[in-house]
């Protein structure tokens, strides 16, 4: 099954090339050059993984992560950063990030993480469906 990914980075060249490389590997990629645009896209579409740059204009990656998790708690967010610090990594994980990677990232490593995100998301969605079915069963009283 094709993984669906949202790539968020204000570095347009980076976004364009990484997007092409992922597409070449059979991943369905959408892109956003700002956190605001990413949140708008994430609200209307479902992604297996959202890969967000930590440092962006207007709103940084951690703020974006917080808002994405608020609106879509099942989202699997991977943070990418030019300079990873332990503090930022811990903060990201506390806010619910699935992983934290330093640029330049190895694409095969990133692809592995996307696959894990996909599997994790499937489990969460299945659980959500199960809960919904249980709720319906209780309400209808079959």
């Amino acid at each position: 099954m094709t993984e669906k990914v949202l790539l968020v980075d204000d570095e347009e060249d980076f976004l364009e090339v990484l997007s092409e490389r992922m597409t070449n590997r059979g991943i369905e990629v959408s892109t956003a050059t700002s956190a605001t645009e990413a949140i708008r896209i994430a609200e209307n579409e479902s992604f297996d993984a959202i890969i967000v740059d930590l440092m962006m204009p207007e709103m940084d990656g951690l703020e974006a992560l917080k808002l994405i998790k608020e609106k879509k708690p099942e989202s699997q967010v991977i943070l990418l950063t030019g300079h990873a610090t332990v503090d930022k990594g811990i903060e990201a994980m506390k806010l619910g990030a699935m992983d934290f990677l330093e640029k330049p990232a190895d694409l095969s490593q990133l692809t592995e993480k996307i696959k894990k995100a996909h599997a994790k998301k499937m489990i969460i969605v299945e659980k959500q469906i199960e809960e919904k079915v249980k709720k319906i069963m209780r309400t209808v009283g079959w």
């Binding site: 570095e11 060249d13 980076f14 090339v17 990484l18 092409e20 490389r21 070449n24 440092m55 962006m56 204009p57 207007e58 940084d60 030019g82 300079h83 330093e102 640029k103 330049p104 990232a105 694409l107």
Partner: protein, 222 residues
């Protein structure tokens, strides 16, 4: 070293660290883009080995992108190198125009995320001053932080140096939102030691909608 000089040095070191972290972060972004372009080139070669012909236009685009990013990284490294040399001598004669250019390059990463540009105009008249380059950059940065809070709707902060009888004054304007900020803000309260070591002062002018760093040249007769 007295306590005030020590505090000022510590602040200078923190500022140096902050600038270094910012520039190296930007260099990593350039390297990440070069890395992805090199990766894409490898992808194209692998596709060619499987029979897909190489597209020269695509290759040319990749080559241009890599060149652009190398140029960007080179500018960043030059900036970092100039910053490193700013501490060669505690006090030296500096060309203000050159210091402002370095400052403009360092400030991009802090101003751009807020949609603000820092304009140092064309090459201003040549003004030389005896000062501590690192502390001067630090004081300019604090002025910029204050100015960014006071830009209001203006998205461009212009830096204008002017000679005075005792040294030089560097104006940051226009700051239409300056009325909202109180005069006892961090500018006047946080850094007296830095100002003392620089023989400088901050001048907040709510009528002119500007803030200025007034710098005395210790060698200029007053």
């Amino acid at each position: 070293m007295n306590q005030k000089a020590q505090i000022s040095n510590d602040k200078g070191l923190r500022f140096f660290g902050k600038m270094t972290a910012s520039v190296t972060h930007e260099i990593k972004n350039a390297l990440a883009t070069i890395n992805e372009n090199a990766g894409l080139l490898t992808d194209y070669i692998a596709m060619a080995a499987r029979g897909r012909p190489l597209d020269t236009e695509q290759l040319n685009k990749l080559s241009m992108r890599i060149k652009d990013q190398v140029k960007r990284a080179d500018t960043l490294l030059k900036t970092l190198n100039r910053l490193a040399h700013s501490v060669d001598d505690p006090i030296k004669t500096v060309n203000l125009s050159e210091i402002l250019q370095l400052f403009a390059l360092l400030s991009v990463r802090f101003a751009a995320p807020r949609g603000i540009t820092v304009d140092i105009g064309g090459r201003p008249e040549s003004i030389n001053i005896q000062t501590s380059p690192l502390l001067l950059l630090n004081a300019l940065f604090l002025c910029l932080e204050f100015s960014m809070e006071a830009t209001g709707r203006s998205q461009c902060i212009e830096l204008k140096p002017e000679k005075t009888d005792t040294g030089v004054r560097i104006y940051f304007s226009p700051l239409p939102g300056i009325d909202r900020l109180s005069n006892d803000s961090f500018l006047s309260s946080q850094i007296p030691d830095l100002l003392e070591n620089l023989t400088a002062d901050f001048i907040i002018d709510t009528e002119a909608k500007s803030v200025a760093l007034d710098l005395s040249d210790p060698l200029r007769p007053s």
